[in-house]
Amino acid sequence: MHRRFRAAPGIAAAGLVIIVFGATRLGAQQPDFTGVWTTYNDPGQGPGGGGGGRGGGPPLPMNDAAKQKVEKYQALVKPTGDTPGGYCLGTGMPGSMLGSGGYPMEIHQRPEQIMIVYEAHNEVRRVYLGDRMVPEADRLPGRNGYSNGRWEGNTLVVETTNLIEQVDQRYAHSSKAKIVERYRLEKGAKGEAVLVAEMTMTDPEFYTAPVTATKKWAKVPNGHLLPYECAEENWIKHLEQLEKKAAGK
């Protein structure tokens, strides 16, 4: 009995260590962005606002070589109106973080990894923190690149690199682009949770100065994303063509 009492302080200390360690591991001090979010419009701002769109404003500080690339692409698709999304291609960065076609997004937050699921095209971004970060040599470039995150107080800072060149983006960029996002929670006009996402993109191959944009997301209480199988339409049409061919039509 006596020995059990003597052991108690040790057990309690060990428990305290676990609790403190656990709290740190779970990121208890950081805000939780988990949930479904949709475009937030500031009061007086019409639908389709909420940032993300160029909506006029000063021209982008794009160099001549980049302008030529973008103009060449636009000359190609303008007559047909074709878009990457029309071919079931995900938006890619920074278009995904700036609104993803007006569809909502869902965030799942863990201390070592944050998953951002954009409803449109079921596009997924993974933000790695701490030891989960992928070594540079093990990365493959893509439309959303690789994203590393860190906390600066209550602000989540996400750095995205390893992007491929995307002249089809509203904010076109080269493969050398680096995008830094800063996420923080604010309160909206009605006291609702608003997630503010500020973007700064630097790209020495395309731009002569950093490019910035802000997107605001409103929390959807108990929100759900819907499935989005973009290729289904084409598959059905393809099957119809096969049926016609098989019927000799």
Binding site: T80, D82, G86, Y87, E229, C230, E233, N234, I236
Partner: protein, 136 residues
Amino acid sequence: MRHTVIISAALLMLGASLAAHHSAIQFDFTNSKAVTGVVKKFIAINPHMQLVLHVKDAKGERDIEFEGHSTNNMYRAGYRDNMIKVGDTITVYIAPLKDGSDGGYVTAALTASGTRFGARSRAELEQERLKAEGKK
């Protein structure tokens, strides 16, 4: 060689799929038109709903193909599963084709049970405003 054949076949299939894609450039989104008919085919999918209506109007009797907003956008504008079934008589509100031919882009619909879902286009909102003001 076998790989080449497989890859070639895959590319041919991809080509067929891509050929089925098109943009929305052919639709006139500054206008809105109501079309009533009997549903012959309806598929609620993304990125565009697919609809065929059997229509009888001054031009005669025929089937007209439509496409529309994504199912997800329609869902958030009131659409729910089984609201539209083959055989139903429905009215769709469309952005007509710019060349004036049959068909269009469905932005809203009035179902057989009288439920309306979808967005009101700028043209519809303007028509409603003029009607409310007694100007139309």
